[in-house]
């Protein structure tokens, strides 16, 4: 199955894609763990995740803190602070 991971705004631009389907390794318990793992996948990922303070997340389309567990999640989105309206 794998986890659907979505990127938006400059996170998407730095990584060079809007979406990937991945199987995080065992021990990837939280969103923050996922980000750490993803940062090692490419230079683009590393650049996108270089400053965790500028990163926000949603698990299954709900905004969550970075220490949120991802067990059972189908979709995780990573993006900068929102700027709509």
């Amino acid at each position: 199955m794998g986890l659907r991971i979505l990127y938006f705004a400059w996170v998407r631009e730095r990584i060079g894609m809007g979406e990937e389907q991945l199987d995080p390794p065992a021990g990837t318990a939280t969103v923050a763990d996922l980000v750490t793992w993803l940062a090692g996948r490419s230079a683009g990922h590393a650049a996108a995740f270089a400053d965790p303070a500028r990163l926000r997340a949603a698990v299954d389309q709900a905004f969550v803190p970075m220490d949120t567990p991802i067990a059972g999640a189908r979709e995780v989105a990573l993006f900068p602070p929102v700027t709509g309206g």
Binding site: F79, T83, G84
Partner: protein
């Protein structure tokens, strides 16, 4: 009535207002956000690009409209947000609240736009002099949203 619309087409204020006014209540408050030219050292904004998180956006806006409806007993809550590319002077966002009472409509309208700024997954990119730049989030928006908690 809760009406949520996320659309690349220009916002039709006349149609949206007619829907809200048609609810038969006495008080309607609206807020419209327009693309600002915002002249700066690197030129004025030529286009503004709005990216969003399809599915999550609609869910967030629906939750927001429902929360306002419950809190202020609204007869109508509308949130229309444009996405894609737009130019200075065009409408980005339109929110409206209708109620029997003017204070409820006015407060709910402020609530909708304040919370939208922090709770809905939209991202703005300004293009000036041909160069795109992602807009930074503002602390003031978080302060404005926090007063409703």
């Amino acid at each position: 009535m809760i009406r949520i619309r996320v659309d690349p087409a220009p916002i039709d204020l006349t149609a949206e207002t007619a829907l809200v006014e048609g609810r038969g209540e006495g008080a309607v408050a609206t807020f419209t956000g327009l693309v600002r030219g915002d002249p700066a050292a690197d030129g004025s904004v030529e286009t503004l690009e709005l990216e969003h998180y399809p599915g999550a956006t609609e869910a967030a806006l629906t939750n927001l409209a429902q929360a306002a409806t419950d809190r202020w007993s609204l007869s109508a809550a509308t949130i229309v947000h444009r996405v894609g590319s737009m130019r200075a002077g065009e409408r980005i966002v339109f929110v409206a609240a209708a109620s029997a009472h003017r204070a409820a409509a006015l407060e709910a309208c402020a609530y909708l736009i304040d919370r939208l700024k922090t709770d809905a997954p939209f991202w703005k990119r300004e293009v000036r002099g041909g160069e795109g730049r992602w807009v930074e989030a503002r602390d003031a928006d978080h302060d404005a949203a926090a007063r409703w908690r």
